[in-house]
Amino acid sequence: MEPDGTLAIETHGLKKHFGETKAVDGVDLRVRAGTVYGVLGPNGAGKTTTIRMLATLIDPTEGSATVLGHDVVARADAVRSSVSLTGQFASVDEELTGHENLVLLGLLLGFRRKDAGVRADELLEAFGLAEASDRLVSTYSGGMRRRLDIAASIVVTPDLLFLDEPTTGLDPRSRNQVWDIVRVLVAAGTTVLLTTQYLEEADQLADRIAIIDHGRIIAEGTSAELKASVGAGVLRVCVGDAARRAEAADLVATVLGVPVELESDPAALSARGADPERVPGALTALSAAGVVVTEFALAPPSLDEVFLALTGHAADTTDTTDPDAGEVAGGAPQEDAA
């Protein structure tokens, strides 16, 4: 990792322990200004806790963190002046309307009432929420809440925006909208730190990605670097005649040079870690042997596979030793452990 340019975030040995649980256990991050940095990991990996420390909501147990040149503990106020946070669970007020939410934020940021109203209208318009402006947020769909949430984060354009799992639970269309918003924000010069459980999301948005597990970073790099490190994912083949599956498995194994698994579907087989350059050869071989193929798909590596490759264990969210598996449960569940 050789970042050039200014660092928006720099952490050294950042730790957060809640009693016995080590939610974050020594995280070193270097995020260049003007980029999108993705923190990828399963539930309970320590993503939210990391963001909460960087956004000055909680103090680190150990280690240090500098955000936009300010220490998050000693100069928390300076950090707050230049960052915005969009929490994992909508950080908007459900009992107010969309317009009232944004006016409130405007007032709290120092706008006068009239200017806050104008700014709220402008943002609601830009985020496609003008029609829902005077409805209570509790009546909004998940995608609308997310957009309002992000709108609330940019009432004043922040230098750095924290997005904690911005698309978890959203339908594909809302997810694409959020991605579009993030791209526009970055084009306008905002640095974004986003956490996600989805490799595709990190792939789509992030310039660099850190993979985090059990409170530690287990891999860091660009999307291409990480993908190269875990191989090409899975080739899945279904044959037309289940009786010829064994023959097909032999052919695929020979061409790809990787072990082939027979799936529970009697016509299906899959090969992990297939070199994409050799994959077309497998189809040719099957075709030459006269094996009828009904499905032939090379899937990109999933988060599970990245994890499997990097840690030797699956990204198991039900792991009971998980430090902050509570991340799934509510807005700020770690408090209970604190």
Binding site: L57, L108, G128, M144, I181, A188
Partner: protein, 284 residues
């Protein structure tokens, strides 16, 4: 979704217009930080909006006070003071105190259910005067306290309450009561931030408020009580507030009760505001 366009997701133009969004992003300079008062007022506005959206919240500052005045006047009046009219002159300035003190409890419950919502993460990450969130809530609650007091006074006057101190005395008494209620509220905010559920906040505050409001001089003259109860009553802040309220409303300030009330108010804020802020800070 707001739009009903049936096109497939991949190709449809999202309602997020790049150009509008870019314009929205480029059009703002950061205004100067709001003052503590401005931030508090914004939070008070937030609390009032919630009342506007769910007006049923005002039940506890309208229906209950009316019930209290009616019940206690007609149940006890004849027995304690010979007539309900005579009793009301002494009861009303004090029962306003009792009721408003009781209502302060809801402040703690409201904070307890509010604080765990995601929006508080956002509030905490803003560069504002930190106590503003709580001060704003208390400002809005003071308006609710005022409502309860006014409702009870109106009912009292209809029933025959005639304050000798005139409007000025009544306004002074209500003003003093609001100062005390605001100060007392900090006890519940500290509790609301420490306890797990609104129910436990209610139980705790009831446990404190019941003896405090009943073992006072609100309903009866403490002369007939056993000595140890009298000792409690004489040093109970509610007694001081009730006495000061009677004196102000009837235009005869002749005891140090008012000073006691100011002392209690100051003391409560000095102790419980920092405790509240520490709990708010630790709420993470």
């Amino acid at each position: 979704m707001t739009t009903t366009t049936p096109e497939p997701t991949a190709t449809v133009a999202p309602p997020i217009a790049d150009a509008t969004l870019r314009a929205a992003l480029s059009s703002t300079a950061r205004p100067p930080r709001p003052s503590g008062l401005a931030a508090s007022t914004a939070f008070a506005w937030r609390a009032l909006l919630k009342i506007k959206h769910v007006p049923m919240q005002l039940f506890d500052v309208s229906a209950f006070p009316i019930m209290f005045v009616l019940l206690f006047t007609y149940l006890f009046g004849g027995a304690l003071a010979g007539s309900t009219g005579d009793y009301l002159q002494q009861l009303l300035p004090a029962i306003v105190v009792m009721n408003v003190s009781f209502i302060t409890m809801y402040t703690g419950m409201a904070i307890n259910s509010d604080i765990h919502k995601g929006v508080f993460d956002r509030f905490r990450s803003l560069p504002i005067w930190r106590p503003a969130v709580l001060v704003g809530m208390l400002m809005a609650d003071s308006l609710r306290y005022l409502m309860a007091a006014v409702v009870m006074l109106v009912v009292g006057i209809v029933l025959g309450f005639r304050p000798d101190g005139g409007p000025i005395g009544v306004v002074a008494a209500v003003g003093m009561l609001l100062v005390f209620a605001f100060s007392l509220s900090w006890v519940w905010t500290a509790m609301g931030l420490r306890l797990k559920t609104p129910e436990s906040v209610m139980q705790m505050s009831m446990t404190v408020l019941f003896p405090l409001t009943f073992a006072s001089n609100v309903f009866v003259d403490p002369d007939t009580m056993p000595g140890w109860v009298q000792a409690f009553v004489a040093n109970n802040p509610i007694t001081h507030v009730a006495t000061a309220s009677r004196e102000l409303m009837h235009g005869a300030v002749d005891s140090p009760a008012l000073l006691w009330v100011l002392g209690w108010s100051l003391g409560l804020v000095l102790v419980f505001a920092p405790l509240t802020m520490r709990a708010y800070h630790a709420e993470r």
